[in-house]
């Protein structure tokens, strides 16, 4: 049973006639990494941003189809049915998101990681401290920052900031993490560290990652979906997509003939 099951999903931005995503069927499997690849404008980020309904911060989007979410207790719910604010909050605590650019909040390192916990109602100081430490260790950042947790997060390097954002997302114990090109603003060394971390994380969470970088998809993902102009062209195990693509378009893209 995939943790997210996207069925006949279409998405239309406000003020646009034709849908940006057409009839998408895609599973996000539990404790696996699913990569979404494709040229710019193919809709991969749009699809990712539908999975936690972050689109809904801006009104007027049209959804069709279903995105079924199966939680650890095997309860199935359709993400697209959500209407109330408290349901959105619940959804986003279960399905976290990491963005293209690191987005540290204007507060200390500790408060950044503790933020999601605090707003979800964790008040106990020792529990907060413990969970922040676990999250920072889990994001391979603890060694670098444990002696300056009270310093501003703005003073960290780009790679450290991105790992901080991952720690922040991990701290609330989500079931799914959505990565929207998490390394596109980082240098190769930081990129390597983030990739290692993502692979490490799949023990605990299921992961969907949008990436421009095909090597990255082939290095870290278990499944790959290739998208083109709003269509899901091909979905398969990563090795099949890269070694033995079934569709001509997929082959052209991964061999660098366009994109």
């Amino acid at each position: 049973m995939p943790v997210l099951n996207i069925k006949k999903f279409s998405f239309t931005y406000p003020g646009v006639d034709h849908p940006s995503l057409k009839d998408i069927n895609l599973p996000i499997k539990r404790h696996k990494i699913t990569a979404l690849i494709g040229p710019s404008g193919c809709g991969k980020s749009t699809l990712l941003r539908s999975m936690n309904r972050i689109h809904d911060l801006y009104p007027g989007n049209k959804y069709e189809g279903k995105i079924e979410f199966t939680d650890t207790d095997k309860n199935i719910s359709d993400i697209l049915d959500i209407k109330k604010e408290n349901e959105f909050i619940e959804l986003r605590q279960k399905i976290g998101m990491i963005f293209q650019k690191p987005t540290p909040f204007p507060m200390s390192i500790f408060d950044n990681v503790a933020y999601g916990l605090k707003i979800s109602g964790v008040k106990n100081k020792t529990e907060l401290a413990d969970r922040v430490e676990i999250a920072l260790k889990g994001s391979a950042l603890w060694r670098e920052v444990h002696d300056r947790l009270d310093k501003s997060a703005m003073g960290l390097s780009g790679g450290q900031q991105q790992r901080l954002c991952i720690a922040r997302a991990v701290a609330v114990k989500p079931e799914v993490l959505l990565f929207d090109e998490p390394t596109s603003a980082l240098d190769p060394i930081s990129t390597g560290a983030i990739e290692e971390l993502i692979v490490e994380l799949k023990k605990d969470v299921s992961i969907a990652i949008v990436t421009h970088n095909m090597q990255q998809a082939s290095r870290i993902s278990d499944y790959t979906a290739f998208m083109y102009l709003g269509d899901l062209v091909e979905y398969n195990k990563t090795e099949n997509i890269f070694l033995n693509p079934q569709e001509k378009k997929t082959e052209d893209y991964i061999t660098g003939r366009f994109g």
Binding site: I54, R92, K101, P106, M107, I119
Partner: protein
């Protein structure tokens, strides 16, 4: 051509600096007699244009039973009235003293009331415009705010005196013209500046930063409180300081509403006077030391405003870095 252009630009820029220093120096020179006479006591003295007996002077002009060295308040008041018709210059036994405490206190208090009143409202408007209102409403209200900023201050003064002051007097008691009325109308005047600048700096919060907070399950209120406010803190502080600068120097509207008497207020519904109003009201008749004392007040206002704008600049520079 390049050289000429550079020189031209440089001289335009230096003109501003020369003007600034020039104004300061002229103020200082004209205020010099009052500074020499009263020194820093000017700031702590609450008597304005008051005749007191010279300590070394003979006491012949006073009633026989009185001792000039230990005059009490009532005697001075009486003497004041007696001397109304006399010319200060010819009266060798008394001198006129000027103290700036009342207008300084009046200026600071009206500004403080204005700020206390307008700050929460301005923040509310800014949050509404930047985060809550739909685009079309936000644009309409935004234009209304900017129009409010364009109303000349004398109109605020007249409106305040005829329509606002009676309401305030009904609500809080006391005089219609008072510290409170002046402060509140001043608050209305600085409101649009604060609201507009605060809205603009809130709008600079990157969308992705807000999205990452929402993606953690934050509510709109939490995003505003924890992300947008801290992020735009510097701009908000800047807007407050700029509004302060304007409130300190406002003359016309305050002249209508503050009551214009040189008396320290004992409560906020009392009338008093502010520095710009003291200058505007008394400049026509002032001469000699009185004129100099007004310039001393002007110098103090200049220094207060200059300090506040400098702090504002400092914040904006810090932000740019």
């Amino acid at each position: 051509m390049e050289k000429i252009f550079q020189k031209l630009a440089l001289s335009s820029a230096s003109l501003v600096f020369i003007l600034l220093v020039g104004i300061f120096i002229t103020l200082y020179i004209t205020a010099k007699p009052a500074i020499d006479e009263f020194g820093f006591n000017f700031i702590t003295n609450s008597d304005w244009n008051k005749d007191v007996a010279l300590e070394s002077a003979p006491t012949t002009e006073l009633t026989d039973s009185d001792d000039a060295m230990i005059l009490d308040e009532d005697d001075i008041m009486l003497e004041d009235e007696d001397d109304m018709m006399l010319d200060d210059e010819d009266d060798i036994s008394t001198k006129t003293i000027y103290g700036g405490l009342v207008p300084i206190v009046g200026t600071l208090l009206t500004t403080l009331i204005a700020l206390a009143f307008s700050l929460p409202i301005a923040m509310g408007i800014a949050v509404f415009l930047a985060e809550i209102a739909p685009k079309n409403i936000s644009n309409v209200v935004g234009v209304a705010i900017e129009l409010l900023a364009a109303i000349p201050s004398i109109i605020f003064g007249m409106w305040g005196l005829y329509y606002f002051a009676p309401i305030i007097a009904d609500l809080f008691g006391g005089y219609q013209v008072s510290l409170l009325t002046a402060g509140l109308v001043l608050g209305v005047m600085i409101l649009p500046f604060m609201a507009a600048i605060t809205r603009d700096s809130m709008n600079t919060t990157p969308a992705v930063l807000k999205e990452s907070a929402y993606a953690l399950g934050a509510t709109k209120f939490e995003v505003i409180k924890d992300i947008i406010f801290p992020y735009s803190k510097v701009g908000i502080i800047g807007s407050i300081i700029l509004a302060l600068g304007r409130a300190l120097g406002e003359t016309m509207a305050v002249a209508f509403l503050i009551g214009s008497i040189f008396v320290l207020p004992s409560k906020i519904t009392d009338p008093t006077i502010s520095i710009p109003v003291a200058m505007a009201n008394n400049f026509g008749e002032a001469s000699g030391l009185g004129e100099s004392a007004l310039f001393y007040l002007a110098l103090i206002l200049f220094i207060i405003s200059f300090a506040i704008i400098s702090i504002a600049k400092f914040y904006f520079l810090k932000r740019a870095n």
